[in-house]
Amino acid sequence: MTDPTDDTDPTTATESSDTGGIGDGERDPPRDPTLHRPDGGTVLEDDRDADLDRGPLQQWVSDSISHPERVYRAMFYVAAIFFLVTTLFPFYWLLMVALTPEGQLQDIVFTPNGFNPGAFVEVFEVIPFHIYMFNSFVIALASTIVVLVIASLAGYAFGRLEFPGRTPLMLLVLVISFFPPAAFFIPLNDLFNTSFAFLRPITGDGTLYNTPFALVTPLSAIFMPLAIFILTTFYSQIPDGLEDAARVEGTTRLGALFRVIIPLSAPGVATAGVLTFIAVYNEFFFSFLMTDGQPENWAPILDGILAYQGQYQVLYNLMAAASILGVIPVAILVVIAQEKIVSGLTAGALKE
């Protein structure tokens, strides 16, 4: 008898404690918390009431949360205006400086202090700036041609041939493109100042310093990897059948490259060419150091602009005018080629 009692006792105890728990209901939190919790249900009502008290900023924020596209549009305009100002304002300022007569340069506030369009003529009178421009043009063009020819051959090999070591070689090209150009400068400058007998008929003193080669050679090498990558991508996408057809019809592999593959990769070639041209045209480091700055020694535009800086005066207005003139050829080039560049940079993967 004791055992059953012992058994029932705890059971009753638990039951009673359970019922006790429920029975204490009045002091317990209600089973549905949303009904009575002070924060839960009331927030919405507060929100609507507060509408009237809001300032314009709060109102805008609240609208933005419900209509996020307004924020995106606002961000677009902010970003676009920011980039437009940072890129175009310097040109605007250059123009103002160029148009301001010499001697009144310190008072420019958004409009030129005077009007002197003659500065654009004067730049050619003070120094032979057209020769500097010509030099730059020749150097950029020569580098572009060298880059396109060699990168085409490399791109053909990397893009269309299977050979052992292709990937390591490709990586090597990539690694070299990451070297800082300054690392090449001292050995190259030393090399270009060394006199070689076989160069004497070409350069006079047998060195490459003060010749376009001193610029074309290193600049071509530096901008080559990018061109190789662009052209590799394009050439690899030309169907094998077209090359085979050209070869059966009577071209060599090289002939097929120049007659079929390159014409069909025109956007890629244009992209690589324009990028190289602009990069070489704009390059500072080697351009500044590989010649002595004299126009007859193939000094590029950079040296021309700096040549307005004399020992006793700096012709800022002419420097500004020369800078604007120097930008024009590249601007024209980009406008002409932009369609090809865009399709070359983006549509490469879509070619058949």
């Binding site: 059948g241 085979d244 050209a246 059966v248 019809e249 002939g255």
Partner: protein
């Protein structure tokens, strides 16, 4: 025009052997088709003739010259490609004249020959179109014109009709035959479509796994296949095969027995395991078999599925009593099924019990292990002679 001779051509890609010791000769003016399943090495073999692929071993001769190491442009070959491979940046005239302009012909001569070639493939008035503006058939005709304009010694055609729709393909097939007759040219043609191979070629070279299986005129390949692969590959639908054992006085397969006298058949002896091969059209209903000179004993069967094709009806026969037709089994190789083709006016329906006989003169026996053909036709008397002389290629 020239002969083409391949001597022991082998091509390996690393460990893979794409072409394995192929030797063959294409006569002057002959139309030879390389046929075989995908990846059998037929395109690679053709590319070694074109010079687009260097063979790992072996020599290629065109005419009397060893051209193994010559560049494609110096071989006097022209090629028509499966993907047509017109130069998309050139118009039709420039495409056709591409090869001529690389050589020293004067403009007048180039124009004359281009117009002549365009005439042959019926492309008049389209010379200033761009390839993208043309239909597939027109593009392929430009491709053919580009090949014939140089008047090459050898034409290589790598599945030129594969990308065309079915109707156009049949049309171009006849055009190519006409072209072959007009030009009297040596043509090597690659296809996986045996209808093209059968209809156009003087001889068919059947390839499998990089090896040449048989090179013979189409009907010889059809009637006297040199091995089981050729027998199964040539002909559509495929030949029926049944494994069996030669016993005294007959051949026993799992479902039927065929009388034969092993002593009168060369290469066959009692206790050999052989594969019997019979084409669907050589299986006959017993009630229509009166005209057969040498029918086998009737075989009990039940019809399973009928495929009316219009000009004929394919009947899938089940041989074993309790066997159901199965999706998994290829009727050509399943031991319990037999494919028969009958004329459409035959009274037959699915699920019917029928008696069939085989035409003994059309029964092929293959070695069950090697697949090599042993006998074509087991009528017994003239059988050995007709069977002993398949055009051996290996």
């Amino acid at each position: 025009m020239a002969r083409v001779r391949l001597e022991n051509i082998t091509k390996r890609y690393g460990e893979e052997t794409a072409v394995d010791d192929i030797s063959l000769e294409v006569e002057d003016g002959e139309f030879v088709t390389f046929v075989g399943p995908s990846g059998c090495g037929k395109s690679t073999t053709m590319e070694t003739v074109a010079g687009l692929t260097q063979p790992t071993e072996g020599r290629v001769y065109i005419g009397d010259d060893d051209v193994t190491t010559l560049a494609p442009k110096d071989r006097g070959v022209a090629m028509v490609f499966q993907n047509i491979a017109l130069f998309p940046h050139m118009d039709v005239y420039e495409n056709i004249s591409f090869g001529l302009r690389l050589r020293t012909y004067d403009d007048e001569e180039v124009r004359r020959r281009v117009e002549q070639a365009a005439d042959i493939v019926q492309l008049e008035g389209m010379l200033d179109r761009m390839p993208a503006e043309m239909s597939g058939g027109q593009q392929q005709r430009v491709g053919i014109a580009r090949a014939i304009v140089r008047n090459p010694d050898v034409f290589l055609m790598d599945e030129p009709l594969a990308n065309l729709d079915a109707k156009l393909r049949v049309h171009m097939r006849t055009e190519l035959q006409r072209l072959h007759r007009e030009l009297d040219a040596t043509i090597i043609y690659v296809t996986h479509d045996q209808a093209e191979a059968m209809t156009m070629s003087n001889r068919i070279a059947v390839l499998n796994d990089g090896k040449l299986q048989q090179i013979a005129p189409p009907l010889v390949c059809y009637n006297e296949p040199t091995n089981r692969f050729v027998a199964g590959f040539i002909g559509s639908p495929s030949m029926n095969f049944a494994d069996g054992e030669v016993v005294d006085g007959g051949l026993e397969t799992s479902n039927f027995t065929v009388d034969l006298d092993a002593t009168r058949l060369p290469g066959v002896s009692v206790d050999d395991t052989v594969t019997l091969g019979i084409r669907p059209e050589d299986v006959h209903l017993t009630r229509y078999a009166d005209s057969l000179a040498a029918p086998t004993d009737p075989i009990d069967a039940r019809t399973d599925v009928l495929e009316p094709m219009g000009d004929e009806v394919f009947v899938y026969l089940l041989l074993a009593e309790d066997v159901e037709g199965s999706m998994e089994e290829d009727p050509a190789t399943s031991p319990n099924q037999l494919l028969m083709s009958v004329t459409p006016d035959t009274e037959i329906e699915a699920g019917q019990d029928v008696d069939v006989v085989l035409d003994r003169s059309k029964i092929h026996l293959f070695d069950a292990d090697t697949g090599d053909a042993l006998v074509h036709g087991i009528t017994g008397i003239e059988g050995p002679e007709s069977g002993a002389a398949p055009t051996e290629a290996e």
